[in-house]
Amino acid sequence: MTSTQDLIERFTPELRGFGASLPDEFAAALGTLERRLTPEQLEAWADQGVKLAHHSLRSWEAAAEYFRASPEIAPRIDFDTLVEWGETAAELASSSALMSAAYVKATPALLDLLPAEDLTPLANLGERLCRGNWKSISLSSLFYSTSPALLGVLTLSALDEFVDVIDALTERSYELATACLETAAGVFGQLEADDREAFLRFARAVTRASWADTRLYFERGPRLLQAVESGQRADFLDLAARVTTEIGRQGYPLFAEAATSLAQMDPADHGDMIRFARRLATGSPTSAMEYLKSAPFVRSRLTPEQMERWSEAGRDILFIERNAEGAEAYFRLESTRAEDSLAALSARVELSSVGTTLRLYAKALTGEQIAVRSTEDLVDRGIGWVTESVATTEGTSIYLPPYVNAYEEQRANFIAYKVFTTHQTGRLEFGAFSYRYGEPGTYTGGTVLAREANTPPPSHLEASDAPQKLAAVTPMQRYFDLFADRTMIAGLFTVVEDTRIDQVVSREYSGIREALRRLQSYEANRRPDVRSMGLQAAFVENLLRASLGRPDTIMWPMPLQSLLGQGLAALRVIEQPGATVQDSAEVATALYDIMERIPNIVSDMLKDDWVAYDEDYLSINPMMPGGGGDGDMGPLVPSGEEVAFQNPPQPEFRGDFKPELVQLLMQLRLQQQGLQGDAVLSPMSAEQLKQLLENSVEITISEMAEGDLSSTLGLFLSNLEKEAGTPQTDQKTQQGEQDGSGGVEEEPGPMEDLPVEVTWKYYDEWDFRAGDYRPRWCRVGERLGEEGELDYYDDTLRKNHGLVMETRRQFEIMRPETFRKIKRLEDGEDVDIDAAIEFIVDKRAGTGPLGRIYWRRNKIERDVAVAFLLDMSASTDEEIEKQKPKYDQDDDFDDDPRKYFQWLAQRRAKQALEPPKRIVDLEKESAILIIEALEAIGDSYGIYGFSGYGRDNVEYYVIKDLDEELDDSVRRRVDKIEPIRSTRMGPAIRHTIWKLQEFEAKVKILILVSDGRPQDHGYGRDRTEKEYAVHDTHQALQEAKRAGITPFLITVDKEGHDYLKQMMDDVGYEVVDNIESLPRRLPSLYRSLAAE
C-alpha cells in the first residue's frame, strides 16, 4: 500500500510533464496491479513505464497505452514476460513511438489469440516492416493495430509469410502495401481456413511476378475462388502459384480467367480438371491454364467422355510429341488440330460447317437463290423477327439456329438441320407465301369476299380519330384484316399452313419422312401443359398436337368435344394431297369461327372433365364445318377466369412463320427492282407501310427498340428497305451494315451511297512454333480497287513507248505455235512425200515393212493463268534514290506504326509538288508494262494488291481479275495502287491461291512483288517476333506449290537475303538490284517462268 503511494508520489511530477492524463492513468493501473505484483515487481513495472515515457519525444503516448494495457495483461502472463513485453515496447519506441503505442495497445487482444511467448515474435514481424521512414512506420503501426484481426484468420507462421508479401510490396508502393494490409483480414476471413495459406503462397508469387496485380488479387481473388469447388481451391491456388512463378506477369490474369471458366463447369468435375491441369503444368504451365480456360467451351460441345479424349490428345502433344507451343495452341483452341479433334468428337453440328451444304440443298429444292444464315443475324437486323434460335425464312434467306445438339449422334443432329431446312424451303417450294386473296383452293371455296362484305372495319380503326382505312398492301394483310383478333387468326393460320407443309414435305420427300416424324414426336413430348391454358389457346394447342402426328397427346374438356372434333376434321382437309395455301386460309377461317364460340377461360373446375382424345382421331374424315351456326353448341360451359388469348409456342423445327411480313418484303423487293408484283397493287406509300407494321401481329415493336413509336418505325422501315434493296448473297456482306441511321421523321428514302462491297474470306495461318495452323485466323476482305485517272496509264505508256514496244515484240515471238507437225504416223492428215518415197524405196528393196508415211498437225493450246500480287504496304512509299530506310525498322515500325505513318505523312506533304519516284510507282509502271505484254500474248492474268492492318483486316484489292477483260476501269484502277498499311503476306497469298484454283488453266503462276519482309500488327506471337511472319509466308508459298501453282517472288529488298532464303526455301525468287530495272525485269522474268 505504502509502496503504491510511494510510487505515485515518486513519479507523478515527472509524468505530469508529459500530459495531464498520464498520472491518472498511472495511478489507476497501479491500483489494479498492486494486488497482483509484489512491491519490487511493482516498482520495476512503474520504472519501465516511466522510462518508456522518457524514451523519445512522443513515447509518452506509448506509455499511456502501457499503463492502460498492463492491468489487463498482467493477470494473464507471468512477470518475466511482462517485463519482456515492456522491453519490447521500449525497443519499438526507439524506432517510433507510434509503433510502440500500436503494439502495446493491441497486446490485450493479441493475448486472446497467442500464447504469451509469441508476443515478441509478433512484435518482430511488425518491426520487419519498419525502415525508419514515416511511410514504413505507419505501415508497421497499421500492422500492429490489425494484427489481432489478422491472427483471427491466420496462424503466426502464415502471418510471417504475409508480412513477406507486404514487405515485398513496399519496395514498389507503400500505398499498395497499405491497402492490402488494411483489407487483408477481411480477405482472409472470406476464405476457408484450409485455403488461406495457399492463397498467400499465390499472393507471394503474384507479387514477385507483377506486383501491381496483387491488389486486384486481394480484391477479387476470394470471390473468384468462391466459384471453385471448396475442396479444390488450395490445389488450384498452388497450380496458379506454380504457373506464375514460371511464366511471370500473365499469372494473375490466367488465374482469373481460369477461375471464371471453372465457375461455368460442374463443381463435381473441378477436382479432375485441376488434377489434369497440374499434370499439364509440369510440362507447360501455360497449357494448364489454357486448358482450364477452354474447358467450358469444349464442354458445351462434348460429353464428359469425349472431352476427356479431347484433353488427352492435347496432353499427348505436350508429353509425347514434346511440343509445348503446340499444346498451348491446342488448348487455347488456336490450332487446327484442336478444332479438328473437337469437330470429330462432337455430336454437335455447327451451322458454320454445314451451311454451304444446306445452302446448296435449299437451292436444289427450291430452285431459288437462298442464303442460309444463323438466326443470330436475324435478330440484329431489326426487321421484325425477335426470337433467337428458331428457324424461319423471309423469302430469300433461311434462318437456322447456330447449332443443333439435340441428339447424341452427329448424323442425327445434321438430319435435324435438314428437317428444319426442308420445312423452311417447303414454305417457299409449296407456296406458303403465295396466298392470293379470294381465290378458291382445291378443297374449299373462297369465302373471304363474302366475309369482307360483312366485316366491320377492324377494331383498331374504329376510333373516331382513326385515319381512314388504307388499302391493304399485301393479300395476306387484307386477309388478316378480316378478323377482329389478328393474333388468333395468325396463330391458326400458322398451325394450319405448317400442317400442310409438313404433309406435303413428307409426301414429296419420303427420305426424311421418318426423321420428320421423329422430330414431330420429340416436339410433341415437350409441349406445355394444355390444362393451364385458356380454352382457346388449348384448342390451338390441341390442333398443333394433332398436326404433329400425336393425337394421343390431346387433352380437351369433355363437354366441348364436338367443337374440337369439328376442328380436327377441318384440319384434316389440309392434309389431303393437292391442298394449297388457299385451302389453309379457308380452314383457318373455319377454325376461327369455331374458336369464337369457345370462351377463353382457365378453370380448375374443369380438371376432371379433361379427357384424352385418341380413339377416333384417325377415323375422322376431312370435313369443313357445316355452314350456318349449328345448334349443337348448347353444352353448358363451366365458368372460369377469362384470360387474354395467347398462342401456344411454336415447335422449334417449324420455326417462325410470318407470311404477312414476307409478302411485304417480297413486294418491297419487286418495287425496288422496278417491277410491280401484282397489277392490283400500286406502289405502297409510307403511310400504308406504317399502318401495316403497326397492325401486324408479327411485329412486336416494343421489343425492337426503345423510344417513341415513330422513330422505331422509322428505323424499322429503313431496315426493311435495306433488306429489300440488297439481294441476299450469302458470301457477301456489306461493310458498315448496321448503323441504324433511320432518321426520326424521315420518309424512308433511297439507300445512302453504297459502301465499297467487300467479300470476306477466312484463312488459316501457320504457327511455326506450334507446328500447326491457327484455324480461320485471318480475314481477307476482297474489294475492287478504287478508280483513279485514266491519264496515268496513258502517260506511262507514252513515256515508256520504246520499252512497251520492245516488250510487246518479245512477247509476240513467244506466242504459241498453235500447231506442231507430227510425222511418221501410220495414219494422219496427209502423206508426207519424203517419208512416202523412202518407204517405197525401202519396200522395193525388200525392207521397211511399216508404212509410217503420214503426218498430222497437233494442236498445242497455250493455257496459262498468272496472278500478280503487289505489295501495297506503307513502305512502298520509299523513294527509290534513298532506298535505305531512314527509320530504324526494328524499333519504330513494330512498336509504333503511328509514328511511322506520321513520318510518312510529313514527307508526303513535302513532296507533294514534285514527287520523286517511289517503289510503288515502279510497281505501277511494271503493272502497266506487264498488262501490255500479256495482252499481246493472250494469257489470262490478274493483278491484285494487298495491305491491311491486323489479322481481321487483310485488304485485298482487285485491279484486274483473272477473268476480267482489260478496259478503262482496269486502267483507272492502276492509277490508284497506293501505299497503304502493313504486309501480311500469308493470307494474301492464300487468297490468290484460291482465286487461281477457281480459274481453269493448265499452267498457273503466282508472282509476288514486294519490297521487304512480311510484317503486320500481331503477325507473330509478340511484337518483336519476325520469324513467325516469315514462316507463315513460307508455308503459304508451299501451299501454292501443292495446289499446282508456280509461285515466284520479286523483291527490291537488297538487304533481305537472310530471311529470304528461309522464306523462299525451294521457291524461286529474284532480288532486283537496280530497282529501276523492275519494269524491264518483270516481263522477261515472266517469259522464262511461263515458258515451262
Partner: protein, 288 residues
C-alpha cells in the same frame, strides 16, 4: 461399222446400216414435225442442248421415221451416218484419203462423202469439238447447191436427194474456245433440246430402264432438284441418260440411294461439297 448380233458376227458398210427396230423416242415438243419439214426442204439442222438430253436418240428415231423418203419401205430407215467429233478430227477424216495398198494407192471415202453419195443423214455429234478449219469444210454442203469439194481428187460431189446435214451442239460449255463460229451456225435451223418436263422424263426413265413408275417419278423429281444447282458448282444438270442408268440399277435391285450415288452424284461432280448437297437431296427423296 460392225455390230455384234446374238448369233453371228456381221459386217456391214456404214451406208448400209439401218435400224431394224423402231427406237423409243418420246416427243417433247414439235421437234419431229420441225425435223420432217427441214428434211423435206433440205435445210440443215442444228440440235442444241446439253449432253444426254436425247439428241442422238432423236436423230436415230428420225432416220427410222423418214424411211419413206427413200421410197423403199421394206428397208427401214434413212441411213444414218454418225461422226463423233473430236479436236483432232481433220478434213481427211471426214472426206476421205488415199491409202497404200500393195504398190498402189486406193482412195477411201470418208463418212461425209459416203453420206453425200447415198443420201444419208450425216450427224456430226458435238461439232464444237472439231477444229475450226474442219468445220469450214461443210459450208458448201449447206448451200443450196449442196456440194462437197474433194480437193485431193479435184472433184465436186453433189449430194444425193436424201442427204441432210445434222449437227449437235452443247451450248453448256460456254467458253470462247468452244463456241460455234457464226459463219457456221447461221447455216442451220436450230432445234432446242432442254431437259424434258418431270412427267415425261419419268416416262422415258421408266421405258428405258424398266424400273417402276414410282421410282421413275422420284428420279425425275431428283433430276429437277439437282438441275436447280446448275451454275452452283455444277457445270451441267444431270442428264436423262444418267437417270436412265440409275433407273436400270434400281430395276436390278440396287437400293435407290446407292444407285443414285454411283449413277448421279459421283458421275456429276468431283466437288465434295456439291456431292454432299446432292446426296442430301437424294436421301430426302429416297427412303433407302
Amino acid at each position: 461399222m460392225t455390230i455384234t448380233q446374238p448369233q453371228a458376227f456381221k459386217q456391214i458398210a456404214v451406208e448400209e446400216f439401218r435400224l431394224t427396230e423402231e427406237p423409243f423416242y418420246l416427243p417433247i415438243n414439235d421437234e419431229i414435225q420441225l425435223f420432217e419439214q427441214a428434211y423435206e426442204r433440205q435445210i440443215p439442222v442444228l440440235l442444241k442442248g446439253p449432253t444426254g438430253a436425247g439428241k442422238t436418240r432423236f436423230v436415230e428415231y428420225m432416220s427410222w421415221r423418214l424411211h419413206e423418203h427413200l421410197g423403199d419401205k421394206s428397208n427401214e430407215g434413212v441411213p444414218l451416218i454418225t461422226v463423233a467429233c473430236h479436236e483432232d478430227l481433220t478434213a481427211s477424216d471426214l472426206v476421205g484419203r488415199y491409202l497404200l495398198e500393195g504398190d498402189n494407192t486406193r482412195w477411201i471415202d470418208g463418212p461425209i462423202t459416203r453420206a453425200v453419195k447415198v443420201g444419208a443423214i450425216c450427224y456430226l455429234d458435238e461439232i464444237v469439238e472439231a477444229r475450226k478449219d474442219t468445220t469450214v469444210l461443210i459450208h458448201p454442203l449447206t448451200d443450196y447447191r449442196r456440194l462437197l469439194p474433194i480437193d485431193k481428187r479435184g472433184e465436186l460431189l453433189e449430194a444425193a436427194d436424201g442427204f441432210l446435214l445434222v449437227m449437235s451442239y452443247n451450248p453448256g460449255y460456254q467458253s470462247a474456245l468452244k463456241d460455234l463460229k457464226h459463219s457456221t451456225r447461221q447455216r442451220f435451223i436450230a432445234i432446242e433440246f432442254g431437259y424434258p418436263p418431270r412427267d415425261q422424263e419419268a416416262e422415258i426413265i421408266r421405258v428405258e430402264s424398266l424400273c417402276s413408275a414410282e421410282d421413275a417419278q422420284e428420279l425425275a423429281k431428283l433430276a429437277e432438284k439437282v438441275r436447280n444447282l446448275k451454275e452452283h458448282g455444277l457445270a451441267e444438270g444431270v442428264s436423262t441418260r444418267l437417270l436412265v442408268y440409275a433407273g436400270k440399277l434400281i430395276a436390278q435391285g440396287i437400293a435407290p440411294r446407292r444407285a443414285c450415288q454411283v449413277a448421279i452424284v459421283w458421275a456429276l461432280t468431283d466437288d465434295l461439297e456439291v456431292q454432299r448437297s446432292i446426296e442430301e437431296v437424294v436421301t430426302s427423296i429416297f427412303e433407302n
